[in-house]
Amino acid sequence: MTLAFGVAVPAWARGLPDALVHPLTSNTRLLGAGLATAVTYAVLVLSTFPGFTVQALASDPTDLFYAVAALTRETYLTVGWVGLGLVATYAVLAGVALTNAVALLGRARRTGASTVLGVVPGVLAAGCASCGAGVLGALGFVGAMAALPFQGNLLRLGGIALLLFFLGRTGDPLTCSIGGER
């Protein structure tokens, strides 16, 4: 644990700044992070009403934008700015995390299988945190998010915390840690 401005910074958080700027290190990574953010946002919003999404896309795939726009408005009207802000923040962080996960996997392929195994829990954690809201809807618990504390915002906040933890633990995916300490 180190001190920054007199505040104790936990070990896992020290790599967070490096992890967050990793997509800025190449045009491809930046584009990848942008695409991953857009796809994650669309999936998160569409999964709030899976029955509608499936029907809309099955009848006309070009209704994708209509469905995203309608469910964005629906999400805002149901959970307000805080809930929608958490979804958007999650999408941005997931975009960064997925870009970093790809870099980690690439590095692991070069350095050996043990590193791949070390990365897998982080990637899975990121994936699970992202599905939170959607899984409840897909299982038929429409309205379940509304019944959760703060209309599901606590779950969304938990997903963001999990992603930040994953990003902080990984740090810059292109540099190696020594002795487990970054």
Partner: protein, 245 residues
């Protein structure tokens, strides 16, 4: 990290701009107001008779459209549901003019309280309003129905309470407030039971949220299901398929 992996000012600006654009886009979609199209009021109404169609007891329910229309649209709704308001403002006017007013379809309004604590009391309000105006001024029910959706606030379900629905009732032309209140005091229990019964039918038909629709051609015994506030074109296609069955 090689030289090509350096963080450049250009990429940092691009990332900042894209993030701002993303946030702005989400905010724009979230705040884009509903359609300004004039609200739809059906040309004809009738109360359902003691008949059970598709397992649903229609007795005394508000039905928009001609009694002899070949297709029934069972519309499960909740006054606290923003997506239902979207259907009412963006899809229903087109469907109403092109299918209900022409005698091709009739719309049966069915409560599906699922959004918030006041969803069931709102369903009781609706049923009591219909009971008071069904014989004398059935269009007043639709005016009340639209006014109740208009009362939805920008966010959350806190807006839905006794005071709001009492205000909507008092302000709607043709709806007598005192008899509605008496109905709510005397019949709330039996109305809740009836709602619960039809809720069971809806759930067994795979209805899990609002708005949801079953389109049913009574003569051909053919049906289709729609979930959510689809655009009018998608709704029309589904109606055409059931009509042609």
């Amino acid at each position: 990290m090689g030289s090509k992996d350096k963080i450049t000012r250009r990429r940092a600006i691009a990332a900042g701009g894209a993030t701002a654009l993303f946030g702005g886009g989400v905010a724009f979609l979230a705040t884009r107001s509903d359609s300004d199209e004039p609200r739809y009021v059906p040309e004809s109404f009738h109360a359902g008779e003691r008949e059970t169609v598709f397992g649903i007891e229609l007795g005394g329910r508000p039905i928009a459209g001609d009694r002899g229309a070949p297709v029934d649209v069972y519309y499960w709704t909740d006054y606290l549901c923003p997506f239902c308001k979207r259907f009412e403002t963006e899809t229903l006017p087109t469907i109403g003019r092109e299918y209900v007013d022409t005698g091709d379809a009739r719309v049966v309004v069915l409560p599906y309280p699922n959004i918030g604590a006041y969803s069931m009391p709102a369903a009781v309000w609706s049923r009591c309003v219909w009971r008071q105006v069904a014989e004398s001024d059935s269009a007043a029910f639709w005016r009340w129905h639209e006014a109740a959706f208009d009362a939805q606030s920008e966010s959350g379900t806190d807006w839905a309470d006794e005071e709001t629905f009492a205000r909507v009732t008092e302000r709607t032309e043709g709806v007598p407030a005192d008899p509605v209140d008496s109905c709510r005091s005397d019949s709330a229990g039996s109305i809740r039971d009836a709602v619960e019964t039809n809720l069971g039918v809806a759930q067994s038909a795979g209805i899990r949220g609002t708005p949801s629709f079953v389109l049913y051609n009574r003569d051909a015994d053919a049906s289709g299901k729609l979930v959510g506030a689809h655009p009018a074109d998608t709704f029309s296609d589904a109606l055409d398929r059931v009509l042609a069955a």
